[in-house]
């Protein structure tokens, strides 16, 4: 007996112009447990960048759903990903976030593993009176079922029966290219990780990244600061990139951006940003046009919020952020966030990028707190049961078309659906892609 039916949770009737999500998706603990098993532990998940373990024997740790993992570069230079638990008693083997080690020794009974995950020692094995059955067991660290890399972005799946990583990422690869191609040396994480929690469901963050509608409503206090700083033009105030763009200004005319949805739940929300000194990237504007062509260069300057379903968000707007969503409970989410930057950029560009990042993205800044507080206020409202259907996925339904548009064509991007928008359209239909991918991963447990 399956406890939930998909039709009760996601009301997806394109022919009737209806796409609705039930509040239960945000609050139900039983549904949350199923999500952890089937969405996060049952398919491809982003786990980190290859630059987080660059040299032989470098490692970093993290989680796939609730399962601790370690990504280790072995002595031959190959990256591997294991469940970070000793096969002996299940103790988490590696406690540090990152480091370099040829051997990992379990703190509990000293079972020892090399950087390729092979068991190198079981303490006092000869005197252990083990049975032959034990000796026949594999005592190495358990590799994850699937592990793959796309241009330095590492993904893993605890379930083996999943599409290839290339199939999973699909067209989203071209959007990752726009970030990685900013430097011939690729991208790196600026040292300093910022972690915060909020008392609401993980899908609040999932949607918010792609939600153009909220910007002028949630962030007027920040926008006022931007306006003021733009007028002041003094060296003292933090310079702003986003203030120079008009994709979010209500009086902007014409196409200012739009959305694209891709297979497997990846979505892009984008806005036109001029190629100008308002972005730290400007120092590369000519080089990029020469290397990649003007169209791709211009896209590298556009505001782009990309979600790679279900847990990676790459936000290129006021600065450049890599976010990883880690659900803890139906009403609690942990966010791991980094500034992601092209390697080899000038000191001035790096410092400019960092300053804008802190003000906009940090939970100690002037924008994100207004988002996270709204998530929590939404979580309170999710308790309503009599009218379960949210009305937050309906904007843009009649503007959504199959395939791409002229802007997508510029970089040969082939989305499944797209919306071209003026500043006030603020498409919500792209969220449908999240819930269809969610439903696909949950298909086995939903009636």
């Amino acid at each position: 007996m399956k406890p939930f039916a998909l039709r009760d949770l996601v009301d997806d009737r394109p022919d009737d112009g209806v796409f609705r999500v039930n509040r239960a998706l945000f609050r139900d603990p039983a549904l949350f447990d199923l999500e952890m098993k089937h969405v996060f532990e049952g398919g491809w998940i982003f786990i980190g960048l290859s630059t987080q373990a660059e040299r032989p024997h470098d490692y970093f740790t993290g989680f796939i759903g609730r399962v601790p993992i370690v990504v280790s570069r072995d002595g031959a230079g190959e990256l591997r990903c294991f469940v970070n638990a000793c096969p002996h008693k299940g103790v988490r083997l590696v406690q540090k976030l990152c480091g370099n080690a040829r051997r990992h020794v379990c703190p509990y009974h000293s079972w020892t593993f090399d950087s390729a995950g092979a068991n190198r020692n079981i303490k006092w094995q000869k005197n252990g009176c083990y049975s032959p059955a034990f000796d026949e067991e594999n005592h190495d660290l358990a590799p994850v079922a699937r592990f793959g890399e796309y241009r330095g972005f590492l993904f893993a799946s605890l379930k083996a029966d999943v599409p290839t990583l290339d199939e999973h990422l699909g067209e989203a690869r071209k959007l990752i290219d726009l970030i990685v191609d900013k430097s011939p040396e690729g991208v790196e994480l600026v040292p300093g990780r910022v972690c915060f929690t909020y008392a609401a469901n993980w899908k609040m963050q999932l949607e918010n990244c792609s939600d153009q509608y909220h910007f002028t409503s949630t962030h007027p206090s920040y926008i006022r600061i931007l306006d003021q700083r733009a007028k002041e033009q003094s060296a003292e105030v933090v310079r702003s990139s986003i203030g120079a763009a008009d994709f979010w200004q209500e009086d902007a005319s014409g196409v200012t951006g739009g959305t694209m949805s891709f297979d497997h739940g990846h979505v892009l929300n984008w806005g036109v940003m001029p190629v100008s000194a308002a972005l730290p990237e400007f120092e590369h504007a000519e080089t990029w046009a020469r290397l990649h062509g003007a169209a791709k260069r211009n896209w590298m300057f556009n505001m782009r919020n990309l979600t790679v379903f279900p847990n990676l968000q790459l936000a290129e707007n006021a600065s450049s952020q890599m976010r990883v969503i880690r659900p803890i409970a139906a009403n609690l989410t942990e966010m791991q966030t980094w500034c992601i930057a092209p390697r080899g950029e000038s000191d001035e560009a790096r410092s400019f990028r960092i300053r804008q990042y802190e003000d906009f993205f940090n939970p100690t800044g002037m924008a994100t707190p207004d988002d996270t507080v709204c998530y929590e206020e939404a979580q309170l409202g999710m308790a309503e049961q009599d009218r379960p259907w949210l009305q937050g996925h309906a904007r843009g339904l009649t503007a959504s078309v199959e395939g791409g548009n002229d802007y997508a064509d510029m970089i040969e991007l082939r989305p499944a659906r797209s919306v071209l928008a003026d500043a006030q359209l603020c498409d919500e239909s792209l969220f449908g892609s999240y819930y269809r991918a969610w439903a696909a991963r949950m298909a086995g447990v939903l009636a």
């Binding site: 540090k96 976030l97 206090s221 105030v237 790096r350 802190e358 100690t364 707190p369 996270t372 507080v373």
Partner: protein, 165 residues
């Protein structure tokens, strides 16, 4: 040599805490020099704090009081939902150690606990860590030229603003 003594240095830190507790932001801003540095470093994955705010990330970093004024303006604007129902805070500062650096500059190390009660959600949280204040004689008054906030529990529940550390 003009130096600020232990007692006077501690008093300045206590006053700063009191002004934040009272949300008396104008008087708080007035404790800082116009070219002050206000810095809360982030933590790196290798377990040390970031040291170069121009190449590494901070939780908060400003050069110039003008940017702190922006923070205060946002809090007071009425347009920040995170600042509509203001949390209540109480700063506790201890282990104050003042050392004169040079003529007119005193370096002060201290420990802090800031208890924050989020009225909106009825949740309380304590932020704790260490402060480093560089106090300078500025136009006849001792002011804060540099404040470093070394936040130990840096996983931020929902939000953290300037009055919470």
């Amino acid at each position: 040599m003009i130096a600020l003594g232990q007692v006077e240095a501690a008093a300045l830190l206590y006053r700063e805490g009191l002004l934040l507790d009272r949300m008396d932001f104008d008087a708080w801003l007035d404790l800082y020099t116009p070219d002050c540095v206000f810095w809360m470093p982030a933590w790196r994955d290798d377990g040390v704090q970031t040291v170069d705010p121009d190449r590494e990330l901070s939780l908060i970093f400003y050069r110039g009081r003008r940017n702190l004024e922006d923070r205060v303006q946002r809090i007071r604007s009425g347009f920040s939902v995170a600042s509509v129902v203001m949390p209540r805070v109480a700063h506790m500062i201890g282990n104050v150690l003042a050392e004169p650096v040079d003529e007119g500059t005193t370096r002060v190390d201290s420990s802090f606990i800031v208890n924050v009660h989020d009225v909106r959600t009825n949740r309380s949280h304590a932020y704790f860590g260490r402060y480093e204040h560089d106090l300078v004689l500025h136009e006849g008054d001792w002011k804060i030229a540099r404040k470093v906030i070394r936040l130990m529990n840096d996983v931020v529940p929902t939000m953290l603003d300037i009055y919470g550390v």
